[in-house]
Amino acid sequence: MNIKMYKRENCSYGIRNRIAVISTVACVNHIVQSIAAQVSLADAYTHAYGCDQLGADGELSFECLRLMGTHPNNGAVLVVGLGCEEIIPEELYNAIKAEQPNTEYMVMQEVGGTTETIEKGVEICRHFEKLLSGMERVEVPVSNLTIGLECGGSDFTSGIASNPSLGIFAERLCAMGGKIVFGETTELMGAEAIIKKLCDNDQIYDFISSRINKIEKTAIDMKVDLRGTQPSAGNIEGGLSTIEEKSLGAVCKIGRNKIIDAIEFGQRAVKNGVTFVDTPGNDIACSLGLCAAGAQLIIFTTGRGTPMGFAAAPMIKVTANSAIAGIMKENIDIDLSEIISGKLSVIGGGDIVFDKVISTVNGHETCSEKLGHREFSLYRISPILT
């Protein structure tokens, strides 16, 4: 089966052709947002950081912004900096430009005040718009897809209907040579027996289980009960009593595929099949981790309902909770509640997901895209010390 994608200079393939306007530091967030608001093809990549970051934490933020700039869904990039921050605009620009020739940068302290900097940014983006409007998609096999699988606002329907449907989809995509990436490490706690069976070798299982144990150790060292955050109050109200129960429902989303690789947050998935990425359960941080791993699209199952999207990739929202499918129908792409009522099988659900993925890949906008949800954040790995 073939699909149509945009080919990038670094030989990756994207399903969208967007302009990334990237903040190097929180101070210029409003500038970045104002530029992106005036350019329909542009997305604002703003965050609370870029300064006061030390060591590995600072390096990870830089690398994540670089990976967003070189993400295959982006056809052009504008880096916007202030001039005195730790993430140096010119360095980020050089790092992105090495793979994405349509990259520019500007430093506010060299350009002018807010108004002038916004105007200059919009001018650069208008030039990018002209460049991008001339680009055509090319026909390529489905194996060029990397799909991120995520769950948020889970309830009892997640593990019974929506995640198992994703599992069917994941099996089908992997059989066609595609890549699946998933994470949310905390939400595998309790599902280790299943994970162990699915891991292709001991090294991969050791990597995953060590990351799960690290989180558990943190809770124990802090003398806190994980319950209340994992599962959250919303999960608990939705019927999930323990993290074990939540995790056993979450792991359904990768189906019976072997997990053939395990990578750190900020690394790219390189092997066809299912790759585990060590991400937190936090929805925005997880989305960043999956897109940094190369996901061109995220399928997001939700029981309680969430409107969020993500700047770098379209998000397909799936729910099997009929109440939310009604109340928040503006935000839901796929309603699988008929699995709960017995009118639809999980396999049928998987087919619906597959068809939606193909149409989204080929250009059909998801609800979150149409509504303008393009959330973004960086992921901190150390506290703010300075």
Binding site: T157, G190, A219, G239, S241, T242, I340, V346
Partner: protein
């Protein structure tokens, strides 16, 4: 009739697909929608929450999806409501240290 789903034959709880009141008829089905049993809940249970299918002793494992999801903190009678008031996680319990 109201329904609950038994996800694995080794489970000792089923998950409600409808709200039920005490004594109401409740059909337990498997994942293929075949009826496994018809029971009467010992108390009201909300949709999405769990019902005990057997008597469970304090300290015993609660099984769902064929795996342990926690343990009973008190004795649980057959067809009683199972949730955070009588089921505790065995993981991430820094509060017990």
């Amino acid at each position: 009739m109201k329904k609950a789903i038994l996800l694995n034959e080794n489970d000792n709880v089923a998950t409600l697909l409808d709200d039920v009141s005490t004594g109401e008829e409740l059909r337990i089905t498997d994942v293929r929608n075949n009826t496994v049993n018809v029971v009467h809940p010992a108390e009201a249970i909300p949709r999405g929450h769990k019902i005990a299918l057997v008597q469970i002793t304090q300290g015993e494992d609660i099984i769902k999806y064929g795996f342990v999801i926690g343990c009973a903190t008190v004795d649980i009678k057959i067809f009683q409501y199972v949730h955070i008031h009588n089921l505790a996680s065995l993981r991430g319990r820094g509060d017990l240290v």
